[in-house]
Structures are given as structure tokens and as C-alpha cells.
């Protein structure tokens, strides 16, 4: 692949979930947990006539990043839109809980979540929701000990309940390709109408929820190029920063205040949105 003119060999976005973890971890330290050969698949998809996948779309691995013990969970965006069901959700929650237990025993372990997801898998509705709630409470337990880093590189982006999970993390890293938002563009278009929000207008969508806009609005911590090197460097950098003194979600009151005085008569522009979020978030 290294000489291929089509796929940039150093691209992170182009890689599968398993390849992404392998490239993020120190060489030869990756050990996959609940591997696909254990055949822990979704018990619900086949009943609804949907072909399952051996890892249920989530890869979990332990390893080292810059010599530091880390557990990594990566969602495969190509399988069912990266949606989380009972099994895939429990795998991520279990990985985070493992790190909490290790830290409680005095063995430092950080976590990295590579998020490509539309949120809950609708075919497993309540079980997916419950799993995401478990993921969120595990993030909150773990972030007291060691950084929990969310990576949103695209192409799927991170939406639904998992966008809340990303926001709960100690740090969020995005690329230009990545998108982060509670509701996906198609859902908003359906609710608000195509005149207000055209989901097929790509420049418009990215100008509101893309990585660059999210970074310039102060909602994420790092905006990087799509390369394996810059992803790894950014992750190492944020691991070294340690636990933040104040987590982003602890400052939610300031943002609520800003939204209270927002005039929704006019269509919001990317510039207005940025200004509102920066001021509301207490940034200069």
C-alpha cells in the first residue's frame, strides 16, 4: 500500500478501526480484547434480517502509547454507520471500566476513544441507550485518574448520545474531515426543513459542525491534519497534559447563559455561532 497513488499511506481517516489502533499504539504492544475470534456478535441483528459482524463494529485493545499503558476503543464506521448496540456498547463501557479498576489499584491507565458513530443502533434501541449511559458514567469515573481522549477524525463523524460521551472526555481531537454534533444533519433537515438546514450542502454543514469550526468555537482542544503521525503526536501531547483542572462539562452553566439570550429570528451564521460559543465558554 505504501506506493499506492490513490490511498495516502499515512492517512488515518482511510484506515479501518483495527488498523487505526495499531498505528496509534507503540509498535508490537497491541493486544486485542474480546477479539472477533471470540464471536461475540449482536444477538439482535440476525432476528431482524441484518447480517452481523464478528466484532459488532467495535475493536478494543490494550497497549502502550509513548510507553504509557492505554486502552483504546475504535468504532468501525462502515458497519451499520458505527451505531452502538448492546454488544458494541458494552465492549466500550467494559474497556473504560477496566481502566478505572487498574487506576484504582494504583496502575495508571489512560483511554482513547476513536469515534465514528451516529449514536444508538436503532435496531437495539433501549439496550444501546443503556450501554451509552454506562460509557458516559465510566468516562466520568476514569477522567479523575487519567485523561480520556476522544478522536473524531471522520468520515462518519460523531453524533447522538456518543457526541455527549465525546464532550465528557478530558480532551477532544478533531480533523477537518470530522464532524461533531448532537443531531446528524439529515435529522435536523427533517425537523427544521430543507430551507433552514440543507443536509446535502456539504460546505454549509462543515461550516457549522466540522472540526475547524468546533476548534475555533473552543468546543474541542486540538485541530490536526489527517495523518497517522499528527494523530499520534496529538494523542501523546494530550496524555502528557494529564487530568485537566476543570473539565469542559463542568462549565455548562456559562454556555446555557449565552443560549438564553440568543435571538433565533435570524438564521445563525458560522461566525455568529463561533462568537456565541467562545464568549459563552469563557474564552477570550
Amino acid at each position: 500500500m505504501s506506493n499506492s497513488p490513490v490511498v495516502k499511506d499515512n492517512s488515518f481517516v482511510e484506515q479501518s478501526a483495527r488498523q487505526r489502533i495499531k498505528r496509534l499504539l507503540d509498535k508490537d504492544t497491541m493486544r486485542e480484547l474480546i477479539s472477533p475470534f471470540e464471536r461475540v456478535t449482536s444477538p439482535w441483528l440476525a432476528k431482524q434480517g441484518i447480517v452481523s459482524q464478528f466484532d459488532d463494529g467495535v475493536v478494543i485493545a490494550r497497549g502502550k502509547i509513548d510507553g504509557e499503558e492505554t486502552v483504546v476503543a475504535a468504532i468501525e464506521g462502515s458497519f451499520q454507520g458505527g451505531s452502538l448496540g448492546e454488544v458494541s456498547g458494552a465492549k466500550i463501557a467494559g474497556a473504560l471500566e477496566l481502566a478505572v479498576e487498574e487506576n484504582a489499584k494504583g496502575n495508571p491507565m489512560s483511554a482513547v476513544l476513536i469515534l465514528e458513530t451516529g449514536g444508538v443502533r436503532l435496531q437495539e434501541a433501549n439496550l444501546g441507550l443503556a450501554a451509552i449511559a454506562e460509557i458516559q458514567s465510566a468516562i466520568i469515573s476514569l477522567r479523575k485518574y487519567r485523561p480520556v481522549i476522544a478522536l473524531v477524525t471522520g468520515p462518519v463523524g460523531c453524533f447522538g448520545g456518543m457526541s455527549i460521551s465525546a464532550a465528557l472526555c478530558s480532551y477532544i481531537i478533531m480533523t477537518r474531515e470530522g464532524r461533531l454534533g448532537l443531531n446528524g444533519p439529515l435529522v435536523i433537515e427533517q425537523e427544521a426543513g430543507i430551507v433552514e438546514y440543507n443536509a446535502s450542502d456539504r460546505p454549509f454543514i462543515w461550516s457549522l459542525i466540522g472540526g475547524k469550526q468546533r476548534f475555533e468555537s473552543g468546543l474541542v482542544d486540538s485541530y490536526i491534519n489527517d495523518s497517522q503521525k499528527s494523530v499520534r503526536e496529538a494523542v501523546v501531547d494530550h496524555l502528557n497534559r494529564g487530568v485537566p483542572s476543570v473539565h469542559r462539562t463542568e462549565k455548562y452553566c456559562d454556555l446555557l447563559e449565552a443560549f438564553l439570550h440568543l435571538d433565533t429570528q435570524d438564521q445563525i451564521t458560522p461566525e455568529n455561532a463561533q462568537q456565541l460559543l467562545m464568549e459563552g465558554g469563557g474564552h477570550e
Binding site: 483495527r18 488498523q19 447480517v51 452481523s52 459482524q53
Partner: protein, 105 residues
């Protein structure tokens, strides 16, 4: 969704556990695990109804070219075309029989 099973007499012995591909639109995953029997067992889950004859033809085209090892092969197919199917199966067999190769990515 359909589940199919094909069995062929195995020609070789040594395979290592292998996984290739992804159950994404137009793609499939192929998993290979060693087996103690004298057969190659191929289990298929496919989203395409009425595709048994086509799968049989694909397997019949591959067997004279690549000797099938004693194994259990599981295929999860999400409407892949015959060309993609053949490439994935060949990729999996190559990885499963290569020495010291990358097990799965």
C-alpha cells in the same frame, strides 16, 4: 437474510486464524479458523436473498485455482458483487496460509 453452508474436501492443512474485510455496504468479512476435520466448511450469512447458486459458482471457480485448506470459513456478506467476494476470499486464504503474515487488520 440467508444462511448457507458449503463443504469441500480439504487439500491442505495449515492455516492460521484470519479476518479480512468489513460488513459495510457492498463489502463482506471473511474469517478463517483451523479445523481438525478433512473438510473445508464454508458458512455464509448474506443479505441477498436467492443467491445460493451464485455462491456455489464462486466457490467452484476458486477451488481449482486455490487448494482449500482444512478450515472453518465464515462469511458475512452485505450485498457484495461477485468480484469483491472473490477478492476477499482470496485475500483471506492468502493471509491464512502465509507464514508469519499479518493475522488480521
Amino acid at each position: 437474510m440467508e444462511t448457507l453452508h458449503f463443504q469441500r474436501r480439504a487439500q491442505e492443512n495449515h492455516v492460521q486464524p484470519t479476518l479480512v474485510g468489513c460488513v459495510g455496504s457492498g463489502d463482506l468479512e471473511v474469517m478463517i479458523e483451523p479445523s481438525d476435520s478433512e473438510f473445508s466448511d464454508i458458512y455464509i450469512q448474506t443479505s441477498t436473498a436467492g443467491s445460493e447458486v451464485r455462491w456455489q459458482q464462486i466457490i467452484d471457480q476458486i477451488t481449482p485455482v486455490i487448494p482449500l485448506p482444512a478450515m472453518r470459513m465464515d462469511i458475512h456478506d452485505f450485498a457484495a458483487t461477485p468480484g469483491v467476494i472473490r477478492l476477499r476470499i482470496e485475500q483471506a486464504l492468502e493471509q491464512a496460509t502465509s507464514v508469519g503474515g499479518d493475522k488480521h487488520e
